[in-house]
Amino acid sequence: MNTRLIRRMIGAAALVALAAAPASAQNLTGAGATFPYPLYSKWFDVYHEKTGIQINYQSIGSGGGIQQVKAGTVDFGASDAALSNDRLKEMPRRVLHFPTVAGAVAMAYNLQGFTGTLKLTPDLISGIYMGTITVWNDPKIAAANPGVTMPPAPILPIHRSDGSGTTNIFTTYLSLVSSKWKELVGANTAVSWPAGIGGKGNEGVAGLVRQSPGAIGYVELAYAKQNQLPVALVQNKAGKFVEPSLASTTAAVAAAADALTKDVRAPIANAAAPEAYPICGLTYLLVYQDQKDPARARALANFIDWAIHDGQALAESLDYARLPESVVKVNEASLKKLTAGGKPLMAAK
C-alpha cells in the first residue's frame, strides 16, 4: 500500500468522523411494531422536513422492538402490546409507555347471497373461534340478526398465522368477554387456535375470506376500509351494535381514559361507552425513563411531544384512530417524567 493512498484514506476517515459527530445528536433510531409503520414513516418524513431531525425506524415486529430496547441499541422501541409486569422487570432500567394511536380490528365475512350487515355478539365471536358455533344458521346467530335468513353453510373461521399485534388485540378482547376463552386459549401475539385456518398477514386473512364462501376473519380496520370488505357490527358492553370506525375507536380510548391515567398499559377493549367499538387496542412507543445522552433525549422528547399533538392530525388520513384529549394529557404527564442523567428534560413546559 503506498503512502499517498494511506494518507487519502486517513483524510476520508476524518471527514466521515466530522460528518458523523454532529449528526449523531440529530439522528434517532427506533425499531419495532409493523402495524403503525405506515403512520410512523409518514411522521418521520414530515418531522424531518420540519426540524431536520432524521429518525430511522426498522419495522421488525414488536418482539424485535422489545429486544432492541432491552439491548439498548435503539432510542425507542415500538410495540402493539404493552409490556407485562414480568417483562418490565427484565428491563435494565425503568421503561415508559407512550400510546401513539389506536387501532381497531374488524370482523370481515363472506356470505354469498346475504345482503345487509351481519351483527355479532361477543358470545358469537368467541363461539365461532372456539369451534362451538359451526354453521351460519345456528339459532344463536339468528337471534342476533332478527328478520334475516342465514344460509345453512358451514362457518370457516380464519385467523392470522403470523404473530401480530392484531391477534393480540383480538385475543385480548376475547379473553375479556369470555372466561372460557381466557382459561383455554388466552391472549398473545400468537395463540394456540382451537379452530379455523391461518392466513399470513392482513392480506392473507382477507384473501382467504374473500375466496372461501362461509368464511369469517379478523383484519385491521385500516385494511378492511381500504379494501372495502364487508364488516360486521359488533355488540359492545352497553349492548349497542357498533360499526368499526375511527370515531368509534377513539370513543373506546376516551372511555378508558381513567384506567389509562392510572396505568397507561390498561386494555381499552370492551369499553362501556355506548358509541365505543369493542375490539381495539393502543400501540406504544417504549422509552427509558432515564436517558443517557441529554441531547438525544431532548430530541426524542421533542419528537414524542410533536407526535402526540400535531402528529395526530396525520393519523386519520392513514386510517388510524387519533388519541382523545384525555389520553394526550396522560402522555404529557409521562413526558415530564423523562430525565437525562437524573435531570428532568421538559420541566419548563
Binding site: S161, N188, A190
Partner: protein
C-alpha cells in the same frame, strides 16, 4: 479424448513443452493457490459449523426446558409458554413427501422426453423454459396457490376426492382448498424444474453407445430407455434429493397455502404447518424468551432433518454406484 490422455500420462517437462511455460517460482504460486482454495473451502465449513453452533445456543433454554418431549409434543401454546414440534415435523415430512411423489414421475418423464425423444431443437427450447421456471420467486408460486389452485381444489378436485376416495382417511374432511394437498402440489411445481433440468443433463451425459448397444441387442425403444434410466439411477436419485431439499426448506409459498394450524390430521385436505412456515410466521412477533428459543429449536430440528436426508441420499447414491461397479466387475 486422446489429448487428455497424453497430458495425463506425460511428465511435468512434457506439460511445459506443450506450450504452457511456467515461471521458476511455480511451487510457491502453487502453495499460495492451494492455501487460498483450502481457506475458501474451510470458510464454507466454518459458516455451517457457526450456524449449527449459534442455533444450538439459541435453542438451549428450550432444550433444557422440554428435552426430548419437544419432538413428541403436539402442544404449541405461546400463552402458556409450552412448545412441541411434532405437528411441524409431521407437516414438513408429509408436504415434502407428497411433493416428491407428484414431482418425480413428472420430472423424470419430462427429462426422458427432452433427452431421448424430442427433436434436439425442441428439447433445448423446452429445457430453457423449464430452467426459467426455477427462477420464479416463491411468493409468486404462493399467490398462484392461493388465487388459482385453491379455488379449483375447493370446487373441483377436493369434492371429487371426497366423493370417490372418501373411504381412505387421506381424503376426508371439508374441502377448504387451502391445506396439505395444496402445499404438496405447489411444492411439486416448484421442485420439478430442478428435477427435470438435472435429470436431463444426466441422461444427456450418458454415452450414446449405451443406447446403441441396447438397440443392437434387439431392444425396443422403450427397453433402450429403460437401460439408460438404469445407468442414470444414481444421478437421478441425486436430482430428486436436491428437489426434496428445496421442498423441505421452502417457506413463503408453503406458508401461504398450507393453512397454518398446529393440528395433525391424516387427511391431505386438512390444514397443517411446516417447520419453516412456523418460523416465518411467528419469529418477528415472538416476545417471550422461551418462545424465541422454541422457534430456534425448530430451526435446529429442521437443520438435523436436512442433514439426515442428505446423508441418506449419499448412502443411497453410493449403494447404487457400488452395485453398478459390481456388475461391471463381474462382466
Amino acid at each position: 479424448m486422446t489429448g487428455s490422455i497424453t497430458v495425463a500420462a506425460s511428465s511435468p517437462e512434457a506439460a511445459r513443452s506443450l506450450g504452457r511455460p511456467r515461471p521458476r517460482s511455480a511451487p510457491w504460486a502453487d502453495l499460495a493457490c492451494h492455501g487460498l482454495l483450502a481457506s475458501l473451502a474451510a470458510l464454507v465449513l466454518a459458516v455451517a459449523i457457526l450456524i449449527l453452533f449459534e442455533t444450538a445456543r439459541g435453542a438451549a433454554p428450550s432444550i433444557s426446558a422440554f428435552g426430548f418431549r419437544f419432538l413428541g409434543s403436539t402442544e404449541w401454546d405461546p400463552v402458556a409458554d409450552r412448545y412441541g414440534a411434532l405437528p411441524y415435523l409431521y407437516g414438513t415430512i408429509v408436504s415434502s413427501a407428497l411433493a416428491l411423489t407428484l414431482a418425480l414421475p413428472l420430472g423424470i418423464g419430462t427429462a426422458v422426453f427432452l433427452a431421448e425423444l424430442a427433436p434436439p431443437r425442441l428439447g433445448e427450447a423446452v429445457a430453457f423454459l423449464v430452467e426459467l421456471l426455477a427462477a420464479i420467486p416463491s411468493i409468486v408460486y404462493g399467490i398462484w396457490g392461493v388465487f388459482v389452485l385453491a379455488p379449483w381444489l375447493r370446487s373441483a378436485l377436493e369434492p371429487w376426492l371426497v366423493a370417490h376416495l372418501g373411504l381412505l382417511p387421506l381424503f376426508r374432511g371439508f374441502p377448504f382448498g387451502i391445506g396439505m394437498l395444496n402445499a404438496g402440489i405447489v411444492l411439486a411445481v416448484m421442485v420439478s424444474p430442478t428435477i427435470i433440468s438435472l435429470s436431463r443433463q444426466i441422461l444427456l451425459a450418458l454415452p450414446g453407445s449405451l443406447r446403441e448397444a441396447a438397440l443392437a441387442m434387439g431392444a425396443t425403444r422403450a427397453e433402450a430407455i429403460g437401460v439408460m434410466l438404469d445407468a442414470a439411477r444414481p444421478g437421478l436419485l441425486g436430482a430428486s434429493i436436491l428437489g426434496l431439499g428445496r421442498a423441505l426448506g421452502e417457506t413463503m409459498a408453503v406458508t401461504m397455502v398450507i393453512g397454518n394450524t398446529n393440528r395433525i390430521s391424516a387427511s391431505l385436505l386438512a390444514p397443517g404447518a411446516t417447520m419453516a412456515s412456523v418460523i416465518a410466521n411467528e419469529f418477528t412477533e415472538a416476545t417471550g424468551k422461551l418462545y424465541l428459543s422454541a422457534l430456534t429449536e425448530i430451526a435446529l430440528v429442521l437443520f438435523a432433518l436436512t442433514v439426515i436426508v442428505n446423508a441418506l441420499a449419499r448412502l443411497l447414491v453410493r449403494g447404487a454406484t457400488g452395485a453398478r461397479r459390481d456388475i461391471a466387475g463381474a462382466a
